[in-house]
Structure formats: structure tokens, C-alpha cells
């Protein structure tokens, strides 16, 4: 039953007029070229940064993590979708989503690659990265993050691999599949089915772990009140379920196209519901976090809140209102049956989640941990100035706040994972069949 379906995806589908499938070769070539440009530009700019040092970014000692780490956390988040969609199929029997398990695994794999790639330009000494393997310090959440993200990369790759095996067998191509030569197609299909299920079941806990451990990088640090909360890991998971599923939804929508939208509508509706549901949980966590920060009324906590709602109020509003819009819209019946609205909802959510990741940095680094309250002289929360690490004529060296915004160089380098993810996804979609016919 599987065999006849997969063969039919050739000339017949190409005649439909959907976005990517209308002329998949050409459209995808354009996407590939675009991604290649992003990659090239960011790599060249990274070369410049390697030559000059991280001084070309706007990070300084008082604000030592910025766009790169936020982008990294963003990609870790959207990498979740893959295994969440496939495991929903296998664990919760949501059969409707089955056609999209391949796209889901692919998007997860690509985003994990993107996240890994983003870390490299953030490192002052990327040439010594091997030290993580030679001298790992297992107390560091960063080491655990490397372990779980690498595992996730392998699992999502395997997930794509086992799902594509039968196709490769039939078409007589693929890679790392020499061992399939001696087996029959039926055998391979059996293996593929069995292992797709197994991989997604092994993958689910790892998917949850990548968010947990990434969140723990921040949440373990008592020096930064904004991060130091037990709600951060579960909140990361809820945001990941929302944004990861939204990414699968977006790619699936673009790939299926408007014309065949109706055919898969049920699957899209299900994904939109997962997104909306996860956002409810996220907003609940976020509200609890704010409430607890505010209620006890430590001056430090109030300072963070005044940064969140005052100085960075606009970014925070983006973080709250765009996803809130998506959530409400995805719960409503109407939006879920509109191709364009689903795309809009996903896009707004991504902007919101990106703002959310930036908001990990802004309030944290602008609330200097060493702040003193001096009783009796009316001084509360006086921040002990930090030497920023650069001397410039006319500018202070010691600062108590840093108006961080990424430099052009920094922003260009942060395009690296975007280029990589789009490239990998487009290349895979172009080369192999990621949307098996329904069976």
C-alpha cells in the first residue's frame, strides 16, 4: 500500500499550482540560492569577526551575552517540533499528522544544526572548541547542553533517515544505505516502520531535555534574578512545543500549497491547536513568574520588573501580544481553515518568540548583580559599576547599564543559522520526497 503511493509523486503533482510544488525545482532553487547568499554573507562576516575579535559586536563585560545566545535559544526552541509531531503520531495515535512526520523530523534536524552553528561565532576561541571533549566539566550545564543537543541531532537525523529508506531503496539512491542492497523492499519497509516509531519514542525525552538543559544554563544562575527560577525549564518546553509545532505547520503549509490545503486541513487544524494549547501553558508560567518576582518586593526584583515593563516595554509587548494574538486566533474555528491566516499566525508567533529570547538578555544584564542598598541614606539598589572592557575617548569605562543593541556585523553573523536551516530544508525537500501520499 505504501509502494504505489510514493511512486505517484512525479509529474502529476508538479502540475498543481501550489507555492513550492508548482514548479518545485525552480521555486526550491530560488530558496536555495537565497539561503546560500545568507550563508555566504554571514560566513564572510564571521571571518571578519574572527580577525578582529568580539569587539565588533556590541557585547561588553557588563552585557556579555546578546543576539547570538538569544538566536541559539530560539533555534533550540523551534527544533522541538519534529519529535513532538512524530511522537504525537506514535504515542497518542494522532494519525492525521502522519503525512508530516518526515517534514517534522527534517525541520528538527535542520534547526538543531542551526542552533549548534550559532554557538560557534559566540565563542571567543572557537579554535579551542575541542576542549569541551578533552576537558569536560560535568558540573557545567553547558556541557550537558552539548551532549543533549548532539544526541538530538543524531536522533532527528536517524528519524529522517529511516523514514526515507524505502524511497531510497525504490529509487536506488540515498546515502549510508549500502546495507539495504541485500534486502527486499518489503523488509526495508518493515524496518523503516519499526524504527521510525522507535526513534521517535527515544527522541521524545531527548527533545524535552534539550529545552530543559538549555533553560538550566540560565536558570541555575543565582547571580541573575530574572533567570533564576524553577519555572524557566517548563516554560522553555511550552514555548518550544508552540514554536516548534508552528515551524512544522509553516513548512507543511508552504510545501502543500493553497490548492491542496483542504486535503490536509485536519492535520493543520491539529497542529494549530497544539500551538495554541502550548501557548496557554506558556502564558500561565510567565504570569506566575512575574507575580512571584513582584510579590515579595525585593528591590532587585523590582528593578528587573521596571526594566521589563519600562525600558524594554516595547520588546516585552512584542513578546506578549503577538503570541497572544496567535493563540486566540488558533483557537478560533475560522482562522484554522484559512491558509493565509495560519501562515500569519505562525509568523507572528516566531517574531514573538524571538523577542522572548532577546528578553532573556536585556533585563538580566542590565540589572547588575552587585547592587547595594545602604540603609539610612535612602540608597536602594545602587549598582556597582563594571569595567566594560574597551577604552574609547570620551566614553566612560565603568558602566552601570549598557544600551545593548546588536551591531550590523553581529546581526549579519546571526543570519548564519537562518541560512543553514533554510538551505538544509530546501535541499532535502528538493532532493527527496518528504510528503508521502496518504495511504
Amino acid at each position: 500500500m505504501v509502494s504505489n503511493s510514493t511512486q505517484t509523486i512525479t509529474s502529476k503533482d508538479i502540475q498543481t499550482t501550489s507555492f513550492l510544488r508548482a514548479n518545485p525545482g525552480r521555486k526550491l532553487n530560488m530558496v536555495l540560492a537565497f539561503a546560500a547568499v545568507l550563508l555566504l554573507v554571514s560566513l564572510v562576516t564571521w571571518g571578519y569577526q574572527l580577525k578582529s575579535g568580539l569587539i565588533v559586536t556590541n557585547m561588553r563585560n557588563s552585557f556579555s551575552w546578546g543576539l547570538y545566545i538569544a538566536t541559539f535559544a530560539f533555534f533550540v526552541g523551534i527544533a522541538a517540533g519534529g519529535l513532538i509531531v512524530s511522537s504525537s503520531v506514535y504515542l497518542f495515535n494522532i494519525e492525521k499528522l502522519k503525512p508530516f512526520t518526515r517534514i517534522a523530523s527534517l525541520s528538527a534536524f535542520a534547526c538543531t544544526l542551526g542552533a549548534g552553528a550559532m554557538i560557534l561565532p559566540d565563542m571567543g576561541r572557537v579554535d579551542r572548541v575541542y576542549n569541551i571533549i578533552l576537558h569536560p566539566n560535568f558540573k557545567s550545564p553547558l556541557v550537558w547542553d552539548v551532549i543533549v543537543i548532539t544526541s538530538y541531532m543524531i536522533v532527528t537525523y536517524l528519524s529522517v533517515y529511516v523514514q526515507l529508506l524505502p524511497d531510497w531503496k525504490k529509487e536506488g539512491r540515498g546515502f549510508l544505505n549500502g546495507w539495504t542492497k541485500t534486502r527486499t523492499l518489503e523488509e526495508i519497509e518493515g524496518i523503516s516502520k519499526k524504527w521510525s516509531k522507535r526513534v521517535s519514542i527515544i527522541g521524545l525525552p531527548i527533545a524535552i531535555l534539550i529545552h530543559t538543559v538549555t533553560a538550566l544554563i540560565f536558570a541555575t544562575q543565582a547571580s541573575r534574578g530574572w533567570w533564576n527560577t524553577a519555572v524557566l525549564p517548563p516554560d522553555f518546553i511550552s514555548v518550544a512545543v508552540a514554536s516548534g509545532t508552528a515551524l512544522v505547520l509553516l513548512i507543511a503549509l508552504l510545501f502543500v500549497g493553497k490548492d491542496r490545503f483542504a486535503e490536509y486541513q485536519e492535520a493543520f487544524k491539529t497542529m494549530a491547536l497544539i500551538v495554541a494549547g502550548a501557548l496557554v501553558v506558556h502564558f500561565f508560567f510567565a504570569a506566575m513568574d512575574l507575580l512571584i518576582h513582584w510579590w515579595w518586593g525585593k528591590p532587585e526584583a523590582h528593578e528587573v520588573l521596571s526594566l521589563v515593563f519600562g525600558r524594554y516595554g516595547l520588546v516585552y509587548a512584542t513578546e506578549i501580544f503577538l503570541p497572544a494574538f496567535t493563540m486566540i486566533y488558533f483557537f478560533s474555528q475560522k482562522s484554522k481553515s484559512s491558509f493565509n491566516m495560519l501562515i500569519l499566525g505562525c509568523s507572528l508567533l516566531f517574531i514573538g518568540v524571538f523577542a522572548h529570547r532577546m528578553m532573556l538578555m536585556f533585563p538580566s544584564f542590565n540589572a547588575i548583580p552587585l547592587s547595594l542598598s545602604l540603609p539610612g541614606i535612602g540608597i536602594e539598589n545602587w549598582a556597582y559599576p563594571i569595567a566594560m572592557g574597551e577604552f574609547q575617548e570620551g566614553l566612560p569605562v565603568f558602566v552601570s547599564t549598557w544600551a545593548y543593541s546588536p551591531t550590523l556585523v553581529e546581526s549579519t553573523i546571526a543570519l548564519l543559522p537562518f541560512g543553514l536551516v533554510i538551505f538544509v530544508i530546501a535541499l532535502a525537500l528538493k532532493t527527496y520526497n518528504f510528503l508521502p501520499e496518504k495511504n
Binding site: G53, M59, R125, H135, N137, L142, P385, M388
Partner: protein, 228 residues
């Protein structure tokens, strides 16, 4: 042996000699300061603060607090930040990968990153070419780890080492030796005979951000001079 320091805030006159001595002995590039002295509560150093005409002016020197429970060491993915056998927290400049996790983790803002090559930084700041300052020789610990070198590699983190290049030879750190009012007392906190050990046992000392549980080995004697 646990090396530590006591700073007597009544004696500190806020002259910043220690900061300058530290900076030059340890060859810190422009914009980098391992040791800072500020007037708490005031945006200007050496400006009195207070209200209702009752003013006071105290100074608070802050460098690495040499935490016994050091978050910077715990977060370092590659063990580049480590505690030596005398309780001094050091950075191996040849192992640090420049992830800056330790900067996020340190509650005292003492960790400094080499955003650019120190030689370039000096040039850009207008220092005369060839002008070098600071202890000229590298220091390697007994395992050969590079914990002092006059020009640190670009892209690594640095901070106070209790002047490892001197204290390893039994000499006192530069800040101790340079302080004109002898506000700093340095020694082995475990040694009941040492002055520092005696003060932390017998006097009312405090540590910065004690509530975080970092257990610093830098102690302060609170100022008791009255407001005027």
C-alpha cells in the same frame, strides 16, 4: 591553605592606588580593570551621599572575591577556571574557549573579557608602540597551566589572580603592597596565627552578597565612622 583578604573600609581612603597598581602589575589592557574602587551610592567617585544634610562617604574596593563556592568555576564547560591548592581561583588562558558563561555567573562583575587583542587595544588607545607594562614573565602553575601572561590571548576571560606571579613566591599581591593606608590584609585564612585569619575570627566582618552562598574569601570590616 586558603588565601584570603580582609579590607578595612574605615581605613580605605578611596585613592584607587590599589586599582592602578593592580592594573599595571598585571598588564591589563585599556578598559579592563580587575580591581575597582567606588563610592557606594554615588555616581561620582569621592562624592558624599546622604540626605537631610547628613552626609557620608565610604569607599568599597571590589575585585575577585575568591569564592569558595565559585559559580564561575562550576559553569566553566572546559575547566579553564579552576581553584588551585591554595584556594585561589585562576583562569587557564590556554584552555578558555571564550564562552563567557562565567561572566554571566559571577555576581560581582569582576570578570573581564578580551574583546580584542590586548596589543591592538593598547595601540588604539594611543599607547606608544613598544610600551609594555606589567610583570613581564609568564607564570605557569605546577601542572603547567598558564595563569599569568602579560598580553592575554584575544577571546579569553581574565580576572584577579591574587597576583599569582608574586604570591606563588611568597610575596604579597600588588594591591596589598601599594595601599597607602594599609587597608588591606592578606594571608592564609586557615592559619590561626595570620592577621587575616585572626580578624575574620575575632571581628565583625561581612562579605558581599552573602545571601547568594558564594562564600567569598574576601572579607570586609564595615566602616564605623559617623555621618556628618
Amino acid at each position: 591553605m586558603r588565601l584570603g583578604m580582609v579590607i578595612d573600609l574605615d581605613k580605605c581612603i578611596g585613592c584607587r592606588t590599589c586599582a592602578v597598581a593592580c592594573k599595571s602589575h598585571n598588564a591589563q589592557p585599556p578598559g579592563t580593570w580587575w580591581n575597582r574602587v567606588f563610592t557606594p551610592g554615588s555616581t561620582f567617585h569621592q562624592a558624599a551621599v546622604g540626605k537631610d544634610g547628613r552626609l557620608q562617604m565610604n569607599f568599597l574596593p571590589v575585585s575577585c572575591q575568591m569564592c569558595d563556592n565559585a559559580p564561575c568555576e562550576k559553569v566553566c564547560p572546559v575547566g579553564a577556571t579552576y581553584t588551585d591548592e591554595r584556594g585561589v581561583i585562576l583562569v587557564d588562558y590556554e584552555r578558555c574557549i571564550g564562552c563567557r558563561y562565567c561572566i554571566a555567573a559571577c555576581p560581582y562583575g569582576v570578570r573581564q573579557f578580551n574583546w580584542e587583542d590586548p596589543k591592538k587595544a593598547k595601540q588604539r588607545a594611543g599607547y606608544k608602540t613598544g610600551y609594555e607594562y606589567g610583570h613581564p614573565e609568564d607564570f605557569r602553575d605546577k601542572d603547567g597551566r598558564l595563569s599569568y601572561t602579560p598580553n592575554r590571548p584575544v577571546g579569553v576571560v581574565e580576572k584577579c589572580t591574587f597576583c599569582i606571579q608574586y604570591t606563588s613566591k611568597g610575596e604579597a599581591p600588588a594591591c596589598i603592597r601599594s595601599c597607602p593606608s594599609r587597608a588591606r590584609i592578606f594571608g592564609d585564612l586557615d592559619d590561626p596565627e595570620s592577621e587575616a585569619g585572626r580578624i575574620i575570627r575575632e571581628r565583625q566582618v561581612f562579605r558581599l552578597k552573602e545571601e547568594l552562598g558564594t562564600q567569598p574569601k574576601v572579607y570586609y570590616l564595615a566602616p564605623v565612622k559617623p555621618a556628618r
